[in-house]
Every structure is written in C-alpha cells, then in structure tokens.
Symmetry: C2
Subunit: 576 residues, 2 copies
C-alpha cells in the first residue's frame, strides 16, 4: 500500500510506502495523523501550507459491504479546525484498487489552473485542464469520463470550490458516473480549489487486492456481517426502500426537524417531503425499476435513493434526509420537485446542501426572500455559481451570511452550520455539535436514534460521547456509519475482520475511535480552539423550540466533563 504525494507547486507526484504502523488505519484516522504530522494547525486554510488528503480504508480493497468510503481531509476554511468529510461513490474503492491508501495534495500552483490528477496505468499524472474551468460537477464528470474512461471514478469540484467558497464540497461519482456523492462539509472543495485541482480521476482497473491473512475466517466473518446487515430492519429494509428520507416523519414528529430557519422543529408539510412521498414519486415514474441503489460497489445497504425526472430517467441521487430538511423544511419548502431541483443544482455547483440550507434560511429571515420561495432559492444558487457578491456571501456559509446580513440568530458551531437534527429537541446533539472536533456535524455522533428521552439533558453528554467514539471508529476504517445501525453489536465482528485480514490481534474499535478524536483535538488546540468554542449558539440556549419548547440546556459542567481523562486516557498520548 502506497501514499501518493502530489505537489501542486512543482506539479510533480511521488510515491511513498504506507508506514507499517498505519497499515490498518484509513480515512478519518489517516487524515488526522497526516495533518497533525505535516500541517501547521495555525496555517491559513486556503494558503499553500494547508494540505488536502484523500484516503480510503483498510478494507476498501476487499468485498466487505460498505467499506469503501472516500475521505477528504484538511484544515477547514469554514471551521478553522481539522475537518474530515466522507462520501460513498466509487472513489474510495478505486483508490484502494490502485494500491493507494492516501493521496496528499500540497503546495499551490504558480500558474493559473485548473489541473486534473489522473491515477491509473500504474502511475499518476497532473494534466492541465483549462477547459474545465468554471464547469459544474455534472459536466466536469462527463467530460472527464469521456477523456479518461467511462468507468473511471471522478472526484471533482464545481464553481463554488474553484471560487474558494467555504460551503463548497468535494464530489465523487457513483457507479453510474453521476457526481452526487458529496464529501460536503467543511469547505474542503475550497481547499481543493485553492490547490488548483479541479478533479482527481481514478481508473477502475487497479490490480491491487487486499491480502488476507486468514481467508477462511474472513469469509465466515464477512458472511456474518452481511447477514446482520440484511436481516436488520434499518439496514435490510428501511434504508433500501426509502434511503435516509425515511427519517421523515419520525424526526418531524419528535419536533427536531429544523423549520423556517430553526424557528420550529415541526414542519406542517413534513408528510409531503417524507420518505413515503418520495417513494411514491419514484415508483410513480418508473424509477428505472428500482428506488435505491448501492452508492459504493458491493454495498448491501443500498440506501442511495434515485429520483427520476418526469421521463423516468435517473436525475438525482441521493436525496438525503439532511437535504430534505435543510433546503426543505428549514426554508419552508414542502414540495419534493423543488427540493430535487435545489439539490441537483447544489451538486452541480459543488455546494453542501446543509451549509447552504442554513445560510439561505438566515437570508430568508433577514428578508432577502420569503420562506417557501423555491424559485428564489434556485436564483440564489445561480448567483453563487456566477460569483456575484450576494452569491459569494451565501457561498461562504451560515456564519458569514449571518454576520453580513446582521442576523442575531446564527445556527452554527465552530463556524459550521447546524444540520437537521435540532439540538434543542435532541439534546444529545447539542453535545455532538458543541464538542466534536468537526464542529456542527451530525455524522460525528448521531444521538437521534437512541432510545432515550431526548428533551431531558441528563446523560446526553455520555450518550453523545460514546456515539462520537463509535462514529470515529467507523470513519477511521472507511466503513459507512450505517453499518452500526444493524441489530446487535457490530464492533466485535469488525474487530475480528481486521484480525482475519491483518493477522494481528488486539483490535479495539473504541480505542481507535478515541485515538482519532484525541488526534483531531490536538490539531484543533494548535489551530486555536478552546472551550470558548465548544458551545451551541446563545439563541438555542434561550429560545424555546416549538412544539416541544425545549432549549439547549445541557449543564456547562457536562461539557466540561467531556474531556475527562478517565474516559479518554491521557489526552496528549496518541498512537504515533
């Protein structure tokens, strides 16, 4: 296994062996180790000292389901701290098949870009790609697949990333070649843009196969894991039918679905944009005979729904709960067709639907357009792609939009817009948003599904902390977070799989998750984060959220206990 180092100043690539100590680390863990080792945490995120890391996991070149997530990491221009964002799609698997665990992009081109990094044919090359400048993701992916092969994976940015917008994500093609799989959060698309890198193209035909120390054990464990996935209600039935859209109406009923710029947690039109409604829309149009597909090769959960256009042809995939809420209910939009159009356009321009949903919600409250005005939202997105001043404001995300427009209520933590699990009605999410090194990021530890009283502050810190560690462990292995949605405890199975693959014993997912978070914390300390940044916005601590009328009232002491060494072990000791 290799690390590919790409120097955008000299436009050269070099190969390094993956250090043996990192043999079974991937994704979020590897990103954190590399960034802590190589990047000055106080550097400017879009300057030449930041580095952008693409990575996959130690199981990405196996046939274990859901193991091929692609991670993107860097110091974030949105949060100012370390950021990992991961996506399904083909990038993770194809990278692994090229025998590459991580790509480190550094420097900054002396001449105007953009460039494309091509990985294939046993090598890597940087090609000028001036013709791609200013193109959206869909056209970019199409051109590059024509140029490099229709089955290649394309990891790319749209106009937003090229313009250095902090709401810009990194997009990645699915098996149909559509760039709808977003490593959306944290503005990593802007970092990619700052490196002059429009796309990374990875050939499909890499020859690397993961060596397995104990093939018989591996096959048995694979079967066990896959059986758990297929037999569990969430991963075997609900996700494959509805995708994450199935979370509506359950979150809305709980009063935790951001509505009209976080003024309410319950959306009157929730039914109209629910998983069931989406399912009816898809099946009503034929949907090419299926409602969802696997976003990654070999994934059995197949939660990625496919929304066809009026002619029944695949138009958008996936349409996630977060998007339905953040550019739906949060903007007062209760029409699926409009949400689909907004999502498609965000994908094309390379924008994170969550950050944009929060930013536009603020703009609506400040009177720039009315809640529910879907056409107005589409026009705002066009302003972003065109780089108008208003577009550039929104493209910088929730905090800058709020400050520019003079908003007293800015739903963000550590510079990042709060996603669709409302931290007042779901108090565990207050802890996740406030304490995660990732800023307000639901994937860092979702408490929403836990069987607890979500409006009771007691015990939420411990709940969130445990789930943050579990999420970090899965993220460190390139596994989809939904693997943990099976019935029963999946972690012992994963640990045994790691042993079967490597021949080593002693894998402990919880220790791994803790180590990842401690590593990220060390980076963030260097970047200038302190407990002063570990807070939900003032308005969420005071303004009751209808219909539960809950406020975010986790006691300050609980936040302070979060980093207890009793739980984490010595905070400065991390795996080298």
């Amino acid at each position: 296994m290799k690390i590919l180092r790409v120097n955008m100043t000299t436009l050269t690539t070099t190969w390094e062996e993956l250090p043996g100590k990192w043999r079974m680390l991937g994704n979020r863990a590897l990103n954190a180790k590399i960034l802590l080792k190589e990047v000055d945490p106080a550097c400017e995120p879009l300057g030449r000292y930041n580095k952008l890391v693409f990575s996959c996991g130690p199981l990405a070149a196996t046939n274990i389901s859901s193991s091929g997530r692609l991670s993107v990491g860097a110091k974030s221009p949105l949060t100012g701290g370390i950021k990992e964002s991961n996506a399904g799609g083909t990038g993770g698997r194809y990278l692994a098949r090229q025998g590459i665990r991580a790509v480190i992009v550094e420097g900054k081109p002396r001449e105007e870009g953009p460039y494309v990094l091509y990985i294939g044919d046993g090598g890597a090359k940087i090609h000028p790609a001036v013709d791609l400048e200013g193109l959206g993701n869909y056209r970019t992916a199409q051109v590059l697949r024509e140029r490099y092969g229709h089955d290649a994976s394309v990891i790319c940015i749209g106009q937003a990333g090229e313009m250095g917008m902090a709401a810009a994500g990194v997009f990645n093609t699915d098996m149909e070649g559509q760039p709808g799989r977003a490593a959306g959060r944290g503005g990593l698309g802007a970092v990619m843009g700052s490196k002059g890198l429009k796309a990374v193209v990875i050939a499909k035909d890499g020859s690397y196969r993961q060596p397995v120390a104990d093939p018989a054990a591996f096959q048995a464990l694979r079967k066990e894991l896959h059986g758990m996935i297929l037999s569990s209600p969430a991963t075997g039935k609900r996700y494959p039918q509805y995708g994450t859209a199935g979370l509506i109406p359950s979150i809305s009923v709980r009063g935790a679905m951001p509505t009209n710029n976080f003024r309410s947690g319950s959306f009157a039109a929730a039914e109209a944009i629910s998983g069931e409604a989406l399912y009816q829309l898809i099946t009503g149009r034929g949907g090419e005979g299926r409602t969802t597909h696997a976003c990654m090769p070999g994934c059995l959960i197949r939660c990625s729904n496919i929304v066809p256009d009026r002619e029944g042809k695949a138009f958008l995939s996936p349409l996630e709960y977060e998007t339905l809420a953040m550019v739906g209910s949060n903007l007062g939009i209760g029409d699926l067709e409009t949400i689909v159009a907004i999502n498609r356009r965000c994908n094309d321009y390379g924008l994170d639907t969550i950050e944009i949903g929060v930013a536009v919600g603020i703009a609506m409250e400040r009177g720039l357009l009315a809640f529910g005005d879907g056409e107005g939202v589409l026009k705002l997105l066009d302003e972003i792609a065109a780089g108008t001043v208003l577009g550039r404001v929104l493209g910088q995300g929730a905090v800058i939009t709020g400050r520019v427009l003079g908003a007293a209520r800015i739903p963000a933590v550590k510079g990042q817009g709060i996603p669709a699990h409302e931290p007042r009605a779901l108090k565990g999410m207050s802890v996740t948003y406030a304490m995660s090194p990732m800023g307000a990021d639901h994937t860092a530890g979702v408490t929403t599904g836990a069987r607890v009283e979500h409006t009771n502050p007691d015990g939420q810190m411990e709940l969130s902390r445990t789930l943050q560690v579990q999420a970090a462990a899965l993220d460190a292995l390139g596994l989809c977070m939904f693997v943990s949605r099976v019935e029963g405890d999946v972690f012992p199975v994963i640990e045994k799989i790691l042993t079967a693959v490597s021949g080593d014993t002693g894998f402990d997912c919880l220790s791994l998750g803790k180590d990842v978070i401690k590593t990220e914390r060390l980076f963030n300390l260097g970047a200038g984060f302190t407990p002063a940044h570990d807070r939900v916005p003032e308005f969420m601590r005071e303004e009751p959220l209808p219909p539960t009328n809950a406020v975010s009232d986790i006691p300050r002491e609980d936040y302070e206990r979060f980093w207890d060494e009793e739980f984490w072990g010595p905070l400065d000791e991390i795996w080298d």
Copy 2:
C-alpha cells in the same frame, strides 16, 4: 465618583459608587476590569450578554492637558476579544464633570429603538429617539445639540453602527460640536447599535471637580508637564502645525506607508497628501485663522487639524495620518480633496477609516474598482450606508470582505485590519499587531518613532512590549498617547501628579500598564484566543514589501517569549 449602569432591557438607570480600589483607574483599565468581572468572554458580541462601557480617567476633571480621553470598551464583534478604543472630543471631560467615571450599558431593548441616553441635571434618562433612526452622525449630533443644548457632548453612531457592522465606530463631538472624534476601531459602534443606543448626550455643566490632596504640588507638576509639552519639538511644534499628517513623508520614505492594498510601502504621490500639502491647503483657504485646534478641552498639543471647505468654513476635523494612508495611499488615491470627502463620509456613516481602507483595498485588488478611483470609493461608502449586500460586506471589515471576495492576501490580525504602520518595514509593529490583546491596532504600541533599525528583527519584541506597556498606562489614565512624545521621561511626572491628586504614593505606570494588558489577556483567554491567533498574515511573512523588500520575520521564539513571567510577573495575578 459614580458608575452609571444603564439597562437597555428594562430601560432603567442606576447609580453605583466607584469602588475605592478603582479610584485612580480609568478608561482602558476600568473597561478591562469591568468587562472581565461582568461579561462572559465567550458571549456573542452583539448579543444581550455583552456590555458596552464608556469611561474617562482620574484626571479628566482636572485642568491637566490631554487628560480627557473618552474610552469605549466591549467584547469586539470584529476581533472576538476585548476591545478598547478611545477618542478625544468632549465626552471624557464632560462625563467626569458629571461625577461619572464609567457608564455600563447592558441588556438589549425588547422593542425597536433607537434610544438616547441623556446625562445631565444631576441624573440620567433614556429617551426614545425613533426620529434619529438611520441618520448620519453629523445630522444626529446637530439634532441632539438642538434638543439638549448646543454645548452638550454627543457620543453617537451612524448607519453602520445601527446595522451592526463590525467596521462601525463610536463618534464623539469636539468643542465645535462636530462628531469627528472617533473611537473607531473594533466595531464598538455595532455593539452600541445592538443595545439600541443611538447616542449618549452629556450636558456640559456638570459640577464635579476632582478633589486634589496636595494643590501646591499639583500646580507645580502641572506646570512641569505643560512645559514639557510646549517645549518639545513634536508636541510643541510639529503636531500643532500639521497634526499627525506630519508623519508623511517620513513614513513613506521609510517604505512603511501601505500603498495599493499593502503591495508597496512607498507611495509615489505621498508628497501630495503630506502634512505640508495639507497645511498649504488649509492656510490657502483661510482655515478660520488656524490650522489645528485642541480636540479636548484644555489640550495644549492641539494636533487636531481642521480642513476647511472651499469657502473656508470648517468641514472636517481631524484628518489623521492613518486616514491619509489607509483611504489614500492604500487605495492609490493621491488627492487630498478626495481623501477629505471619503473621511467626512466615513465619519457621517460612522465608519472606521482604517478598517474601511483595508477592506476597500482588498476590494480594489479583487477587481471591484480600480486603485485610485476616489469616486468609486465614495459610491461604495453610500452602499454601506444604504445597507446593500456589497455595502454590508465592506461594512463588516477586512476579513469578511477578503473571505467573501476570495482574497488570498488579507492584511488583518485577530480579525482586525492592519493600520498604516507597515509591519514588514517596521518590524516592531509586527509584534504589536500580533501580540496586543487589541489585535492589529497601532495605538497599542507604536514602534515607528523609535531610533532603531526598523527592518532588523532583533530586539523588536522587547521594544514593542515596552511601548505596549507604556501605551496601556496612558490609556488607563485617559491621557492622550502623544503625552509620551515629549522630550524626556514623562512617566515620573505623571506618577507624581497621581500622588498629588490622591494623596497616595507608590504609583508606577509600568506596573499599571502591565496590569491592564494582563487583565485583557485573561479576558481574551476566556474568549478563546491562543498563540495560534498571535500572528501576522502569511503573506506578510513571505511577500517582500518594496522598496525595502522586507518581510515580517520576527523569530517565532521572540513571540513565544513575549509573555515571559520574568517581564510580566505571574500572568494570572492581576489587581483586583
């Protein structure tokens, strides 16, 4: 001596005795003590938990020259840290004459403002002032002087402060009733706006006179100090003739005058906007028989130049070096008339000319308008006052302007635009900007006048640190920083004056200055500042500044030694 507490939530005022331990503290020191004691440093700057403090010094009700500075303090929406900004004008003296050392404004009105706080007739009242909403400072001051008395002091904000812009200052009338004395930096005008407070009006006729323990000694010391001021070349001759505009061409010749968005330190048209050129313009128009006046009652330095309009009537006062550079050379504008118009309009809208100069410089480099386009700048200012999206971006200052417009070069430290003493050619200023709790603020410690080799990094840390302590001491006593520009050491004289006034001994200005800075540092630690924030921008560390081609290369170790306890004493120990 009293503290007046103004609650904008309940619209009530209460009086408190000034605690005895603070008897000889004022301005920046008192602000810091109050804010550290009463405000959660992690609060949102424009939220209801921030407090705004107006204060004056322990000599403000005496006839000591230059002792009546008005300080404004709060957690800054620009830097996110503690901020003190002070101004001449009548506010400080009149406040003292009302027997008030500090006014603490807290809370936030439940109903739309704005309001006016009137202090006079032995009391204080909050009056609704809806008719003032959206008015500029000149009209506001005029209306309020008509309403409350032509000799009253008016402390007010323009449109920028009302709209919560982080480049908004607090303005204060001079003895002619013109609101040209700006506590400009740090966005304190936005904090005042967030409190719904359009203006504070202070009647002139307060009856308080500072009791003096040893009148004979006091008179002798006063005479000594005044003699030093009048006999020194800077304070007795250059400032009274040219104002701070006299710093041109000396700073330009040294290559330290920001030009064309900090691309150069030398401005081809420097002569045309120099103190000499300004003097010619003023005298050529008659200038009402004088070129400068005292900005505060009784000030002997009289550095505040008065620029007449074409009819010879006073139009703008003062026109400072910082303004000549930041909206002059930094914008490529070499025409005094244009700079005067820009300055006047900034004053009217309530904008800090430094922050606006940095922001507009970035906008010019990003292509929004050409360097030298003075008419374009005036139009941009009108956009700010009108609250257009572009105007609101610029009104938020340099960092947000830079981020929105995608600038790689943002001349700012701790969120605040860098003023007109270029930290590459004047390396001591690198230390001041990077290390002061005030962020990039030249008044926190100007090394420019020191007789050192300014492009040599050696010893600059020690020089800046000493000057920061001295500046803090003067700021803590409400004394103008120019008092320290006299020949000889002024501090022993000041210490003896404090003894003569109070009857106490043991005054030590250096200890006072250190205590102020340590107090502010403690606030900033709570606000989330770490050494990661103590840096000049990356581009200034790498991009040579013509004509010296210097870079900001103070060794990191020097910054790290800044807080040595050997110099400061125990960092957590401050005067209670």
